[in-house]
Symmetry: C2
Subunit: 181 residues, 2 copies
Amino acid sequence: MKKVILDLATTLDGFIEGPNGEIDWCIMDDDMDFDGFLSSIDTIFYGRVSYDFWGNYQPEENADAEEQKLWETVHSKNKIVFSSEKRDDPNATFINSDIGEKVEEIKKQGGKDIWLYGGASLIKTFIQLNLIDMYRISVHPIALGNGKPLFEDLKEKLNLKLIKTNTFKSGVVQLIYESTN
Amino acid sequence: MKKVILDLATTLDGFIEGPNGEIDWCIMDDDMDFDGFLSSIDTIFYGRVSYDFWGNYQPEENADAEEQKLWETVHSKNKIVFSSEKRDDPNATFINSDIGEKVEEIKKQGGKDIWLYGGASLIKTFIQLNLIDMYRISVHPIALGNGKPLFEDLKEKLNLKLIKTNTFKSGVVQLIYESTN
């Protein structure tokens, strides 16, 4: 069974963006093995806004080879967009209804895991429908004091089971949890 | 030189209390070696409200021996209360003005370190005056979605240097940082 994995960067005080959308604090360290994560998934779940921003993003021509390769890998994945909009898109499948049932069907297809990319509103829906199997939260060594919170409007407390921690040379600590719901 | 150490429990989403002051999610694990922390400090800094709540707290008579001993140890420390109020208190020294200078004086006295106990308003003052040397943040395996944030009204980003992580059997991960300011 495929797992749905939420992989996110947060500040120490639990923000995923600054008050004006800032993500300049977000570190991509070469010891983070993001390639390893990408090789463990074959599907990416997007909200519509995130998909329009990032779903077909092309790095600048002068971007280094590593970044070029990263995006090539991302774009090789099966992309699914959750949206009220119906759209014919050769690069993605749009799902408009019955999210819970359709996600369960996809999970049953087997193969590699699923990266729940976001944004915030899709993550909220997935938490409320109890569809997330694993949380990989990269806590950055910074506090902003204000910004966009990691989780908004939880209907109930989210209890998690710590599986593993990874510490990177930049001071980012990745906390990996399984859902206990 | 004594160090000022902020030791706090937070949820994964960066709250120190639930929306109604709930701290029922806060775990005290026997592998956390809180005794070890207590033995590394000889002074506790309180805000006035925290001091009135906890500064002379006595556990219930039927509390277990461990809890009794913990509070005995806490009460053996040198207590300093930061308050606009002047008060003669045989158990604590009240500081009403020139916080920065007075804290520097205390730090120079040497000996063991200082536990910055809180509350939130005192922590804010200490961050703004750049008086905290070390942050020990115990991230609990729970998200509340709402509550009292770890840091409020930071004037500027707080950049930290990760020193160490400790993982406890309850799934609490303690992140220890030094101030970089």
